[in-house]
Amino acid sequence: MATDAATTQNRSAVEFLDVRELKKHFPIQKGFLKRTVGQVRAVDDVSFSVRPGETLGLVGESGCGKTTTARCILRAIDPTSGEILFRTKDDDVVDISTLPRGPLRELRADMQMIFQDPFGSLNPRMTLLDIVGEPLLVHGMDSRRERADRVAELLRLVGLRPEYMRRFPHAFSGGERQRIGIARALALNPRLVVADEPVSALDVSVQAQVINLLEDLQQQLNLTYLFVAHDLSVVRHISDRVAVMYVGKIVELGKSEDIFDSPKHPYTSALLSSVPIPDPRLRAQRIILQGEVANPANPPSGCYFHPRCDYAVDQCRTDQPQLEEIEPGRWVSCWRARDLDLPGLVATHSGNGSS
């Protein structure tokens, strides 16, 4: 996979993963002839980069395109346009979005996914050995013995007993199943792990165990995570940087503590303020957003957030803001990002708290 000479310069800047102007539009078809009558802009011009060894949290409400973005990066679905540049093990930079089948298949060993639903993502008719060993088989580990050894090692790694190898998934609880899914994702020593809501189907007491496991594995195996989630406290705990999405676009991107402590986009601020805090003394003055999330098939003019935004001015109704770097490492897509002083978590939740 030789890098195209013409684009070398452009690509040499890629540290690990660079997503550039990624778009995924789903056509809306109608009638007998399946004429395309519109486009659902699930992902609409998204750019961000992921650094090696970090955890980038991707947050947003349902339908904001965070899962679609993640799936495009793995090429589980083909993006409409844009570049997904990835630095491979051999220090080449490849564009995942246009990679032909063969090389893509090889590359997949480097990027793996952990799914949300631990019940739907494991084949009930396969034993753990087959489930965790399947990626090994696909990538050429033919000896059954070797596979069994590797599976045992993986199960130990995620905190399951290797003796369970011959059992079927139904014998395990939700948390244990999620561990199996993690073991499968790690089977090929990937460098990038895309975790799509990995703990949201789990009970609170088990959720903490799986979060700890993910963090331990990241340290041990030097993994890079793209962590897709809607639970903001989990995202804060695990992420180094956070990208907030709204209707197919990134509205804010920055270091985790900056985003949570001093959000620059009104949507981020409102999102943070809606999280119920498990402390009755902190019943906060919430920012209650009015109305509904915009329809990605028919988004409003200007800034997609303006109909729900308390700070909207005329410019917001007509012109679409671009994601701009307002401070080093801090990207915001809002016309008023520089002059607004928005309440972050500390501001909205203190004051009436006594502890």
């Binding site: 009970d203 007491s205 119920p276 957003l289």
Partner: protein, 345 residues
């Protein structure tokens, strides 16, 4: 909880709801007691399988087969033309006229899944009007007016048009609002909300919780809020019941339970939630192990295999009784507070 001298609206005493299945007996609810006072909010929290939804369904007498209330009483107190009536729900036939008069008009239920709790082949308005006319003696026209008014009260825009729409035409948040409108259609004195916001996004959740609080302020109904989300309980509840495997682990005023938890399970649960305020550099303290399978309940205290303060010879032999802690409004079932000698004698 009946501190102001009034009788509580609802008293649940030692409720046991079991599901006899082919594989064995599932003790979904195994001895739960609490009171709900008028105008107050009781939060029932617990993880999956702790029996919190079964408690709610037992109160309404709508437990799915083969479940049945094995023991205990559920006393519902209502005012019928100035007379205080006490009805033990567990003694009534689930399909009796009396139960049907309680269900919907006295006690209403909001389900978790707004997607499936509406009929997709009837309009929202028709379903609302059906509920209204079942309990109140109104003409079609009056019922429609009331339906529009209800949708308006729960904050649905253009209610006069919306009543002609089907549930699938509404978004998740609007559908949950319509569900609440349906529950409120006969001015219930108790609203049981079973995971009312679990299927919703955080910003929509904040809207719905705000709505529930407003409505409670307006018509003074009591709410039983069943949820797994400790944040939602902290936000909404006056009193909390923490359940684990069909039993109460701890109960008390919300502030005491969250700031001074007495049961190791409550303590562990509260500690294991990542904080949104700070990135913990350290690992999340988690509760070891998993929730046991219902056919495989541990002897003694059901929490003991996961408990950091497990005492051998005590917790695995005796079953802790749910008792008040002296000098506080909290109650726990734990031998750390009530040594077994007190219990067995």
């Amino acid at each position: 909880m009946a501190e102001n001298g009034h009788q509580p609206l609802l008293s649940v005493k030692n409720l046991k709801t079991y599901f006899p299945t082919d594989e064995g007996l599932v003790r979904a609810v195994d001895g739960v007691s609490f009171n709900v006072a008028a105008g107050r909010t009781l939060g029932i929290v617990g993880e999956s399988g702790c029996g919190k939804s079964t408690v709610g369904r037992s109160i309404l007498g709508i437990i799915d087969r083969p479940g049945r209330v094995e023991d205990g009483e559920i006393i519902w107190r209502r005012d019928v033309n100035g007379d205080m009536q006490e009805i033990d729900v567990t003694k009534q036939q689930p399909n009796s006229g009396l139960m049907r008069s309680i269900r919907g008009s006295d006690i209403a239920l909001v389900f978790q899944e707004p997607m499936t709790s509406f009929s997709p082949v009837h309009t929202i308005g028709n379903q609302l009007m059906e509920a209204i006319r079942l309990h109140l003696d109104l003409t079609k026209k009056e019922a429609e007016e009331r339906a529009v008014d209800l949708l308006n009260r729960v904050g649905i825009p253009n209610p006069a048009q919306r009543i002609h729409e089907y549930s699938f035409q509404l978004s998740g948040g609007l559908r949950q609002r319509a569900m609440i409108a349906m529950a409120l259609s006969c001015d219930p004195s108790l609203l049981i909300a079973d995971e009312p916001t679990t299927a919703l996004d955080v910003t929509t959740q904040a809207q719905i919780l705000d709505l529930l609080r407003d409505l409670q302020e307006q018509n003074g109904m009591a709410i039983i809020l069943i949820t797994h989300n400790l944040g939602v309980v902290a936000e909404m509840a006056d009193e909390v019941v923490v359940m684990y495997l069909g039993r109460e682990a701890e109960s008390g005023p919300v502030d005491d339970v969250f700031h001074n938890p007495q049961h190791p399970y409550t303590q562990g649960l509260l500690r294991s939630i990542p904080s949104i305020y700070a990135k913990g550099v350290e690992r999340l303290p988690s509760i070891v192990g998993t929730i046991p399978h219902p056919f495989n309940r541990p002897s003694g205290c059901t929490f003991r295999p996961r408990c950091p303060s497990f005492m051998e010879g005590v917790c695995d032999v005796h079953v802790p009784k749910f008792q008040n802690i002296e000098g506080s409004e909290q109650a726990v079932s734990c031998f750390l507070h009530h040594p077994p000698a007190e219990v067995t004698n």
